[in-house]
């Protein structure tokens, strides 16, 4: 069953994020995709996430298609103007990609091409509107298309520092849903009680909400997130657990597995995020008995 059909049928969806290579060596990406084929419903392909120049998400999506894995490709506004975005969106449809995720993009000064110019011809809401327009056969210039694409479009809720920031995120998400977004990828969950209270607010958006489960690869990463994003919910207890573990890598996988099981009771899906450790995705799924 396709990702869109599972969403429509209110089935739990399992997504995994996989990055394209910085270069043309696709061996790892293809191998990682093969390893989880049949175990996830779709693979999410970022497009130069965090401003790191990589092979585009469009090509990554096509590679997934070739492996028989359904892709969801990232789109955002930092690097492309409205012509380039619309052109890529039409290309995506023609290449068989059926799912788009409009995401926030990191500022260029945090990228690996800091001297580059940001575009932001459109913002995220305008991009969702543009996709909706294209699916109705009209581009942003008001011109009729010779054949309209079809997509299931999603948007994201960014990490939030407090309740006021969450309210802002929910307001922005609501506008994107009104513009045509059909699912939401939510921030990483490290605290199920906190996620439950998030869902009490976010479920009012009335579209499937898919939280992220992030693989904690080391004690240092856990400490970094706890210090820089206290609102993410990494507790002292969780840090102690990782510190005391004789196999911290394995502990991270176990924690991700537990989060996956936990969110299954609370949301309509999960997106696994391993940031370069995509080869560990099967282990996380094993840890969750999925």
């Amino acid at each position: 069953m396709s990702f869109a059909k599972r969403l429509a049928a209110r089935e739990f969806v399992v997504l995994a994020e996989m990055h394209t290579p910085k270069g043309v060596n696709i061996t790892r990406l293809v191998n990682d995709a093969r390893r989880i084929k049949g175990r996830v419903d779709a693979v999410v392909i970022p497009d130069m996430d965090n401003g790191i120049m990589r092979m585009s998400s469009l090509a990554g999506g096509v590679l997934m298609q070739q492996q028989g894995v359904e892709p969801i490709i990232h789109l955002y506004c930092r690097d492309r103007n409205r012509l380039a975005l619309q052109g890529d969106i039409l290309a995506a449809h023609v290449m068989g990609i059926q799912n788009l995720l409009v995401t926030h993009s990191e500022p260029m000064d945090q990228s690996d091409h800091r001297e580059a110019r940001e575009v932001y011809d459109l913002d995220e809401l305008a991009l969702v509107q543009a996709i909706d327009g294209l699916t109705r056969g009209v581009d942003l210039g008001g011109f009729e298309l010779d054949g309209a694409p079809a997509f299931t479009t999603g948007c994201t809720i960014g990490s939030y520092a407090d309740e006021a920031a969450l309210d802002n995120e929910l307001t922005a998400a609501r506008a994107k849903i009104e513009a045509g977004a059909r699912f939401i990828i939510a921030p990483a969950v490290f605290d199920l009680a906190g996620f439950k209270s998030f869902m009490e607010k976010a479920s009012a958006l009335a579209v499937p909400i898919i939280p992220t489960v992030f693989l904690i690869k080391s004690l240092a990463i856990a400490q970094y997130i706890a210090a820089s994003e206290p609102e993410a919910g990494i507790s002292d207890e969780l840090i102690r657990r990782i510190r005391k573990s004789s196999d911290r890598e394995l502990e991270g996988i176990k924690i991700a597995g537990e989060m996956l099981v936990g969110v299954r009771e609370l949301a309509q899906g999960v997106m696994l995020q391993t940031l370069g450790w995509e080869h560990k995705l099967p282990d996380i799924l094993d840890a969750a008995s999925m």
Binding site: P107, M108, D109, Q110, R114, E115, A116, R117, E118
Partner: protein, 222 residues
């Protein structure tokens, strides 16, 4: 200078419609020089608003005032004794001035009466053209004093594109090709070797790519 043009009257009226008392505020700097928002333009706009109101059977109280510089907190302080005599402020300064007012008087609605256009200079009486985009990394020293960022439609860094014909840009008859101008100028200065130097892809960071820019002069900052 920063250039501006007055907004259409209907748009201005739509901003001030809910208010009965308006402080119409001009600026004695750039917008005076480009005849968009100085003392004279304040008077003309006030008359236009009053006439429009009368035509529609409505009334409004307009207090006219012009500051020496609306972008400078020192001058904006002058408004403290009179700000509460108005329900809203209609500023004829550039966007810098409007924001200075909005920051200083947090409870007072502030609306722009002009569209801020560009940093430019006067070609002849009544004509202003763009000269600078504030890229933060001035190239004029190697381009004969003519800016390819502000004056080339494609912001090319290494000579003209194929759309330049007889010194005219492909975007329109009235636009001179910046790189034609640069070449002619370097020729006149005997500096054509500079033209042959290949310029690398521009570093746009100084142009404010990742957020608003700020200058802090430690020797002056309090």
């Amino acid at each position: 200078m920063i250039t501006a043009e007055r907004k259409p009257l209907d748009e201005i009226l739509s901003y001030i419609k809910p208010f009965k008392r308006i402080l119409l505020l001009g600026c004695n700097e750039c917008v005076t020089v480009c005849a968009a928002g100085g003392r004279k333009e304040v008077g003309v706009l006030a008359s236009g608003i009053q006439m429009s109101m009368l035509k529609n059977g409505a009334s409004i109280e307009i207090r006219e005032h012009t500051l020496e510089r609306q972008c400078d907190p020192e001058y904006v302080e002058e408004l403290v004794p009179i700000i509460d005599s108005a329900d809203a402020v209609l500023s004829m300064a550039c966007g810098c001035g409007v924001q200075q007012l909005a920051t200083r008087f947090k409870d007072k609605p502030v609306f722009p009466a002009v569209n801020t256009k560009f940093m430019g200079g006067s070609d002849r009486h009544g004509v202003w053209t763009e000269r600078c985009q504030g890229c933060g990394d001035c190239l004029l020293g190697v381009t004969g004093g003519i800016c390819p960022i502000a004056k080339c439609a494609k912001q090319l860094m290494n000579g003209p594109c194929g759309g330049s014909v007889s010194g005219v840009c492909e975007i329109g008859d009235e636009v001179e090709c910046a790189w034609h101008l640069i070449w002619e100028r370097l020729k006149a200065l005997g500096l054509t070797d500079q033209y042959l130097e290949i310029m690398p892809a521009k570093d746009w960071r100084a142009g404010g790519g990742s957020g608003p820019r700020k200058i802090v002069r430690e020797d002056l900052a309090e």
